[in-house]
């Protein structure tokens, strides 16, 4: 049952991801991207990562893609400049992707010997024996606030840096318009005085 669901959702995800790329209408692409996110979320559910699945839908499906759609619809991209991709670029990227994919699969199937698998599992379990595998959200939260505290803080710090960068970049324009406003006001005030 789980296998069947995995194949259904995986096929659905790959198909909609493919449609994101090949669609010429930007709105269609965005809609297929939402479907892709939902598909990835359902794949997470088959792996019992419920929290990740919900976050995928909540953050990417519910918030970020709405902004994407907004930008596309406000700029009116659909029907406008339909990109005609270069044939050579397409061929090169497709062949590279295919080689990379097949290469990865072959590499993993060659090196995935049972002895290696045992090694990996023992090396991890010795460090993480207080983190039991569980689909519960509280376990995830416990892990994030104890063992993975540093990565969480670093990720949060990176986001903060990105936010400050955006504020700094967009602030320049605001300052410019303000000075323009002030100069207009100043000129008006000056004319009133004169």
């Amino acid at each position: 049952m789980t296998d069947l669901l995995f194949y259904i959702f995986a096929g659905f995800t790959i198909l909609s991801a493919f449609c994101v790329v090949i669609n010429q209408n930007a709105v269609n692409s965005a809609m297929f991207m939402i479907l892709t996110f939902v598909g990835v979320a359902s794949l997470s559910i088959t792996m019992q990562a419920y929290f990740m699945a919900i976050l995928q839908v909540l953050v990417y499906g519910g918030a970020i893609m709405v902004l994407f759609l907004f930008i596309i619809m406000l700029l009116g991209v659909e029907g406008g400049d339909k990109l005609k991709p270069n044939m050579l670029t397409v061929l090169a990227s497709v062949s590279f992707l295919a080689i990379a994919l097949v290469g990865t699969v072959i590499a993993f199937s060659l090196f995935d010997s049972p002895s290696l698998g045992n090694k990996i599992s023992t090396s991890i379990s010795s460090e993480a024996d207080f983190l039991v595998f569980s689909s519960q959200t509280s376990q995830l939260g416990y892990g994030l606030f104890t063992k993975y505290m540093l990565p969480v803080q670093v990720a949060g710090f990176l986001l903060l840096v990105a936010m400050i960068g955006v504020i700094y970049l967009s602030k320049k324009e605001v300052v410019k318009t303000k000075t323009l406003d002030e100069s207009i006001k100043g000129s008006v005030a000056g004319s009133e005085v004169s």
Partner: protein, 366 residues
Amino acid sequence: MILEVLLHVLAAVLMITVVMTMAGYSVLAERKVSSWIQGRVGPNRTALPILSSIPIVGPLIVGLGLFQPLADGLKFLFKEEVMPGHVNKFYYVLAPIITLIPAMTTMVVLPFGQMIDPESGQRIPLILANIDIGILFIFAVGSLGVYGVVIGGWASNNKYSFLGSVRSSAQMISYELAMGISVIPVLLLANPPGMEGGLSLVNVITSQDSLWNFVLMPISALLFLICLFAETNRTPFDMAESETDLVGGFHTEYGSFKFGLFFVSEYTHIIVGSGVFVALFFGGSNFLPWLPNPWPSGIIGGVFSVLWFIAKVVCMIFLFIWVRWTLPRFRYDQVMNLGWKILLPISIANLVFYIIAFAVYEKLIN
């Protein structure tokens, strides 16, 4: 296995039926209450041939307009299906469906009652799916409802529709933040340290056995209620329609059954949102604060608790209608200011206050 699945499907169909009927009758309640507030009579003529000729009951139910939802629904069904020539056909048809499905899906994790098993004496929550991430599921699926508004407004290819959809989706996205943060104290209370907790609403209701969260955290309740009004696009936040300046907002170009779907999904949203609010802050299917539940064990007690829950939800729906016909609409910039500059800081301060309060309480107890 198959029997279990069939029972689940039956329960789901039953719940959809109840919620859809309630949606239909909240439309009637909206019309009746609005006419009551404005000193009018409201719908009191619609009659079915045989039922309305019963001596005393007949004129009463006709006067209450109980047949009106049936007539409304049939009107939506039998109207001519107009497809404007300038719309994007696929997305135009898709939008009402996208709006309805999330509104109907969120009720899956809503606990609508409780039953005491007569043999083991354990309490069984009545819920379609008791998943660990209940409240997050509601937020996630509810946030997908924005797409119906966005796509509907865009596909209509009409400036008014598009403005309405841009406004209301911006509003829905900004109020989601304050809404999510205002709920966290409730979940903190429901998951004390050392308990195998979760984000399910069942835990929240169990934590309200003696004291309702509304008494303990009134600010959270108020914040959640305001955000709920914004999320359901009701007055004073009905940026989606704002019929005085945008004709009809994002559904200006919609008619007949497609408009009916938008209409029904709005009321479904209100009902499910009221249910979530009741479960979070008003004790769900618990009887009264400080009083033990009087429900007898077994199915009868379960039925009583469900009816009690529905009664609470009906009170909430009345509040929604009451507010709509009392308060005027906010301006768009006022909505944005309220959301980002007032509600969001208050909700964060509220969260920090309760975190500190719970920590101090834990220290004092130990």
